[in-house]
């Protein structure tokens, strides 16, 4: 087990900048999810950490050892990292036992210790009775477990998981999610989990690194990511946030401030350093509601209502700014439809800190 330091790492493929000065620090024993849409650079990042490619700039350290910089490159076979591949990459010509034993054999671990450790690893994933099977005869979830056992049997300092649930069907995913969480608890291995599914990342990770177009946008706990997104892209990507322009006053030391959205006075959360002026605010669906009697709200035309069981999802465009649409959940019964005008109250919101991000 070890911590992982990624320090200003860049990687180009021809003219395409796949990683742009990415820095992050993964703590010893931490479960970190790297989240982003496809093509955001998360798999490239994993391949740099594993050592399949050489970085163009920056430095990667596992524990205190530099494994990658512009001059040094420790090949993957000497990094002591474990990987669970999206395709599982189980060797079809070997039994489950031989798949798991391979890393030990390579490391020169002799029987009976080798057999003992393979059996332990298989027991840990609940596959002790499947040792003699060929991987081709296993179900998707079982293959996943074999891949996990194979990766953990050598006690790697760091485990990389590349979208490990992407190939499983929905109900199996939930079960495997639990399994990963328990697994991490028991082994306390440092894990880096690559995914494009934010629900998965939120459920599993201690912290989440959000990436887009080769850059790290924010690295924070799931709750901070949701409540205090660092910029507009994260705000929109995580939890379908709405970003609206706002006039704010300076924040107090608790991080509260007054703001005015399309003429509506609202109380918002902000960084204590927030200055007065133009800004943008991130609103969540749960921050909005149909204004009660006597409550002030934003006048809006209903565009669409979708019944989602017990409540409606309502999409509306603001009367004062028709190009701004908001969405919120409204409990049953609700008798308005498209074209009607409603008042929408704003109960909370997060003022996005000023950044240089375009």
């Amino acid at each position: 087990m070890a911590r992982l330091t990624i320090d200003r790492v860049s990687k180009n493929f021809g003219n395409y900048r796949a990683l742009d000065t990415v820095s992050m620090e993964v703590r010893d024993g931490e479960f970190l999810a790297v989240l982003g849409p496809s093509g955001c650079g998360k798999t490239t990042l994993l391949r740099q950490v594993a050592g399949f490619d050489q970085v163009d700039d920056g430095e990667i350290r596992i524990g205190d050892t530099v494994v990658s910089d512009t001059r040094r490159h420790v090949p993957p076979e000497h990094r002591r990292v474990g990987i669970v591949f999206q395709s599982y990459a189980l060797w079809p010509h070997m039994s489950v036992f031989d798949n798991v034993a391979y890393g030990l054999k390579v490391a020169g671990v002799k029987d009976p210790e080798r057999t003992r450790r393979v059996k332990e690893a298989l027991t840990l994933v609940g596959l002790e009775t499947f040792a003699e099977r060929r991987p081709g005869l296993l179900s998707g979830g079982q293959r996943q477990r074999v891949a996990l056992a194979r990766c953990l049997v050598t006690e790697p300092s760091l485990v990389l998981l590349d979208e490990p649930l992407a190939n499983l069907d929905v109900h199996l995913r939930a079960a495997m999610e639990d399994e990963f969480a328990r697994f991490h608890e028991r082994t306390a291995t440092t894990m880096i989990y690559i995914t494009h599914d934010q629900a998965e990342a939120m459920a599993l990770a201690d912290r989440i690194a959000v990436m887009d177009r080769g850059r790290l946008l924010q690295l924070a706990t799931p709750s901070d990511l949701f409540r205090q997104p660092a910029n507009e892209t994260v705000a929109r990507f995580i939890g379908e946030g709405m970003v609206l322009p706002v006039e704010v006053g300076a924040a107090d030391s608790e991080g509260r401030c007054q703001g005015r959205i399309q003429g509506l006075e609202v109380s918002l959360r902000a960084s204590p350093l927030q200055k007065a002026g133009h800004a943008k605010v991130c609103l969540r669906a749960r921050d909005l509601a149909i204004a009660g009697p006597g409550e002030a709200g934003l006048g809006a035309h209903i565009v669409r209502t979708v019944y989602q069981g017990g409540f409606f999802r309502l999409e509306a465009s603001l009367v004062r700014a028709p190009d701004v649409t908001v969405h919120l959940e409204v409990p049953e019964p609700f008798h308005h439809g498209p074209g009607d005008i409603v008042d929408i109250a704003v109960h909370d919101g997060w003022v996005l800190p000023a950044t240089t991000e375009s």
């Binding site: 490619d53 490159h73 076979e77 002591r80 990459a89 060797w91 010509h93 390579v106 790697p156």
Partner: protein, 568 residues
């Protein structure tokens, strides 16, 4: 990506890669360089004397003209037969496709000299088959195959499968939407074929034509059997006669002739490249293969016609060969009273030369197949998974000895090995090892291609998983990659074995007493007038070839499509 991939290689990996680079350079670049040097500086001194005398000799230009006539004629015939058959097999709902493809491609796997010998047994006054049927022309009639037309006919039949194979591969990759869009626009099937399918098939067709041209140009067996008796010489047979008649003293002269044939071959390859560069043939969509056209009422007649073709180009000549191999002496008609196995007895047990040739050909082919697979597995690893500019050049270099006519490589090998090897002081000339060198150099690409397509089918993460488990390159190659590409490697080894086993062009120029190959012995039997022995030996090689081809059907399911030419 290539730059960093190359940088990411270390120590052991680099040693292996450079070992392969040196090996391929010795097998392909060294011989050709040596040949070119001999042309410029014969015997070590720069002079244009030999070039001048060869190029001013009218025999040279007669041979060039004959080569071009037979090559172009043979290519046209091969294209006509090959493309018609490819359209039927790939586009229509004809039945028994697998069996048909196997039979149609078979002539490609049978040695050209055996094809020539077999056809000679069907025509001409001494044909045992014709005599049996009472159709033989009167004695003294000249066998009509001893002519330019005969050579063209046989080249066309021999290489029609080449055009068929490249075109079929192209037709398979044709997305069905393109055809369906044409049909939906109201075009009839034949209009779609003429206006959509055939224009899109230009690249594979041109590639097939080029392959056919180069193979016909380099063919030795057919013009040797049909042209030499009529004194109709093409470049390979001219080189053979010069060298056989006058010995290594004329090396500089034949080096110039070999370079000439190499230049003509290269011109064909370059012309292909130029033709394809002029227009954009890229297919933009990908999709499943097209649904076959229903022949309906035309199905049975078409099938009868196609199987008739197989009867004509495969069954009839092989029957002629078999008939000749069973008669006690050439010219005797075959019937229950005359049929005998004496010829087989003689070539298998009595004749020392043909007994040796069996051992030599088996040994050479098996050893070449083994060495080529051992080289191909790591070589294809770098070519497919560690792409870089240098590796692309390496791939090109590996293709060269097979792309150029066999005589070119053979003459180059004589030039390299005539003098004892530097440092070691051993001479390979007049030993079996010079033939072995040429086989490995020439057929490397035959083993390499199937192994490379095996790699293309493989999920690279299987190797990466072994890498993170701590396994070094050699261990990964042996424990992970080799078992996974084994079926493709076996197919490659078989292709090498079959081709080497039926080989004549190289060994005709390089054999020495005690080091004969089967091709050489069949050739010398026929030249000495012992057609019955030649036929018996040829039948045996056909049986071995057929048996090995059929054996591959046992594991064909595990192979990437297109690796075995004779499987649909």
């Amino acid at each position: 990506m290539s730059g960093s991939a190359a940088k990411a290689m270390r120590g052991g990996d680099l040693t292996l890669l450079w070992g392969l680079v040196v090996l391929v350079a010795i097998l392909s670049i060294l011989p050709l360089a040596r040949l070119v040097i001999e042309g410029i500086a014969p015997g070590g001194a720069v002079s244009s004397g030999v070039i001048g005398s060869v190029l001013s000799d009218p025999t040279t230009w007669t041979a060039v003209r004959n080569s071009l006539v037979t090559t172009l004629g043979g290519t046209v015939l091969a294209v006509v037969i090959g493309s018609i058959v490819a359209c039927f097999v790939a586009l229509t709902d004809m039945r028994a496709r697998n069996a048909f493809v196997f039979c149609f491609v078979l002539p490609l796997m049978i040695a050209p000299q055996v094809t020539a010998l077999a056809w000679l047994q069907v025509t001409g006054p001494s044909s045992a088959l014709l005599k049996m049927l009472g159709l033989a022309p009167p004695l003294g009639t000249r066998n009509p195959l001893y002519s330019a037309e005969g050579i063209i006919l046989l080249l066309g039949i021999q290489y029609a499968p080449l055009v068929f194979l490249t075109l079929r591969a192209g037709l398979r990759a044709l997305p069905k939407e393109l055809i369906e869009a044409g049909l939906a626009a109201g075009a009839g099937k034949l209009t779609v074929l003429r206006t959509i399918i055939l224009p899109l098939m230009t690249p594979p067709l041109v590639a097939g034509i080029a392959l056919c041209f180069v193979s016909s140009l380099g063919n030795f067996g057919i013009p040797a059997f049909l042209g030499i008796p009529a004194n109709y010489l093409v470049l390979p047979t001219l080189i053979y006669q010069r060298l056989a008649g006058l010995g290594p003293g004329v090396l500089s002269e034949v080096a110039v002739l070999s370079t000439l044939i190499g230049v003509i071959a290269m011109a064909g390859i370059i012309l292909q490249d130029v033709m394809l560069r002029r227009r954009d043939f890229r297919i933009t969509t990908t999709s499943t293969a097209a649904r076959p056209f229903e022949l309906r009422g035309w199905r049975l007649p078409s099938e009868i016609l196609l199987w008739g073709l197989v009867l004509l180009i495969l069954v009839v000549p092989l029957a002629g060969l078999l008939a000749t191999s069973l008669v006690p002496s050439y010219g005797v008609p075959l019937n229950a009273a005359t049929a005998t196995f004496e010829n087989y007895d003689y070539v298998m047990f009595d004749h020392a030369g043909s007994r040796r040739a069996f051992a030599n050909s088996f040994g050479l082919s098996a050893a070449a197949a083994l060495v080529i697979v051992v080289v191909s597995v790591p070589l294809a690893y770098f070519l497919v998974w560690r792409r870089s500019r240098m590796l692309r050049l390496l791939n090109l270099a590996a293709e060269l000895p097979y792309a150029l006519p066999g005589v070119v490589l053979a003459i180059a090998a004589i030039l390299i090995f005539l003098k004892p090897l530097p440092v070691l002081g051993i001479s390979l000339y007049n030993t079996i090892w010079i033939i072995f060198f040429c086989y490995v150099a020439r057929f490397l690409v035959l083993g390499l291609r199937p192994v490379a397509s095996g790699y293309h089918q493989l999920d690279r993460t299987l190797e990466e998983a072994a890498q993170v488990a701590g396994a070094g390159l050699i261990r990964r190659l042996v424990t992970i990659i080799l078992p996974l590409v084994a079926p493709a490697a076996t197919a490659g080894a078989l292709l090498v074995f079959l081709t080497a086993f039926n080989e004549l062009t190289v060994s005709a120029l390089l054999w020495s007493s005690g080091n004969e190959t089967l091709g050489v012995v069949v050739f010398s039997f026929e030249q000495g007038g012992d057609s019955t022995y030649a036929a018996a030996l040829a039948v045996l090689t056909v049986i071995v070839t057929l048996a090995l081809m059929l054996s591959t059907l046992l594991f064909a399911r595990k192979l990437p499509q297109g690796v075995l030419p004779w499987r649909d």
